[in-house]
Symmetry: C2
Subunit: 186 residues, 2 copies
DNA sequence: GCAGTTATGCAACGAACGATGCATAACAAT
DNA sequence: ATTGTTATGCATCGTTCGTTGCATAACTGC
């Protein structure tokens, strides 16, 4: 029917995501995105509508790297599922912390729909943790309060994302996550 | 000698700090600061030199609220000192998380001297934790690895600052901090 | 009261920001 | 080959950004 799109949308989103991840939403300019993606300003606006729309699309791209482990956690059972999840996440290279955590830090700068997307993810994660911990309390040798410890797990991962900005080492990150699991009692 | 300054520097810094804290460095404009402080643009530049200089001064203002508990921690002894510190920090109202943690999240947007200031603080905190934990291992009933657990303590507090953006409740924050101390073993 | 010094008030700077108008190019359907 | 539709290339929009020049005001020391 019409002229086809020339660029690879997935590659464009991946490159844009890395820029937002590295620089943050506010301090990433359209010029930065143009340089990183090779798109023209006009094409970006045709496809994504606005800077915020573009950012939202890159959040979805980032989510693609999160949903796998999360789904596996949700469909898993007990402490084992949690260990697997935490080990997977803590082994990821933190290009610049975690894009979702960075977005929370910038929450008063980015538009609401983006913040809500991020918050929903963390709520879903906490809920999954709680569910697995409740199972572990009933059928395994976990004794603490699932609701509180689920919060601790989320908060712990968020803390790691921040800490990685001070002391970046995947090995250390993994070690800290392992120790956290031990402390939490799973 | 010359015309005296008309504004109250401490009040100006306090108001500016709150704006940076709420909105972040990048998305705080000079216009925002003018509105919040009542200063004219010209006076701000006379005193602080630049937006970054102004921000650095507000970081110092924020630090005034941190140095008290930190100094008390450093001069204290063993697990008790750590408990006191964590309880004090977790009882603070997180206007919008923690300004220092927010600054780390924006670390690729703010100038180096500001980031270094923040990083030095967390390094100093971690070092203080380690020192107290080493004492606790020798003279009290603490058994874990001080170096690793000191990192956990810093990371835990940073995690709390992020988590407070999702679920803001000082009571819950205090509860989580208490539980963290329990988990860490002090 | 005059000289020296610094803060303030006002206006405006150039640059960068996000976003858009419009002519043209590239395709599919007929 | 013509028509309809949408992407691209290019120029540029109006705003907001951080920052500054300059005349004047407010003070101290002599």
């Amino acid at each position: 029917m019409a002229r086809p799109i020339e660029f690879n949308k997935e590659a464009v989103l991946m490159n844009a995501m890395k820029v937002f991840w590295l620089k943050g939403y506010e301090s990433t300019s359209m010029a930065d995105l143009i340089e990183a993606t090779g798109l023209t300003s006009r094409s970006m606006y045709n496809v994504f509508g606005s800077k915020n729309g573009f950012f939202k699309a890159t959040l979805d791209k980032y989510y693609e790297g999160l949903i796998g482990p999360l789904a596996k956690l949700e469909h898993g059972e007990g402490a084992k599922a949690i260990r697997t999840y935490v080990e997977t996440i803590s082994a990821m290279e933190p290009l610049n912390g975690c894009l979702y955590v960075n977005t929370l830090s910038e929450k008063n700068s980015v538009e609401d729909d983006c913040v809500r997307k991020v918050m929903r993810h963390f709520e879903r994660l906490e809920s999954a943790f709680r569910s697995k911990l409740e199972y572990a309390k009933e059928h395994e040798n976990f004794t603490a309060e699932p609701k509180l410890r689920a919060k601790q797990l989320v908060s712990m991962l968020q803390g790691l994302a921040v800490y990685s900005k001070i002391n970046f080492s995947v090995e250390e990150q993994k070690e800290m996550a392992q120790d956290s699991l031990r402390m939490i009692g799973i």
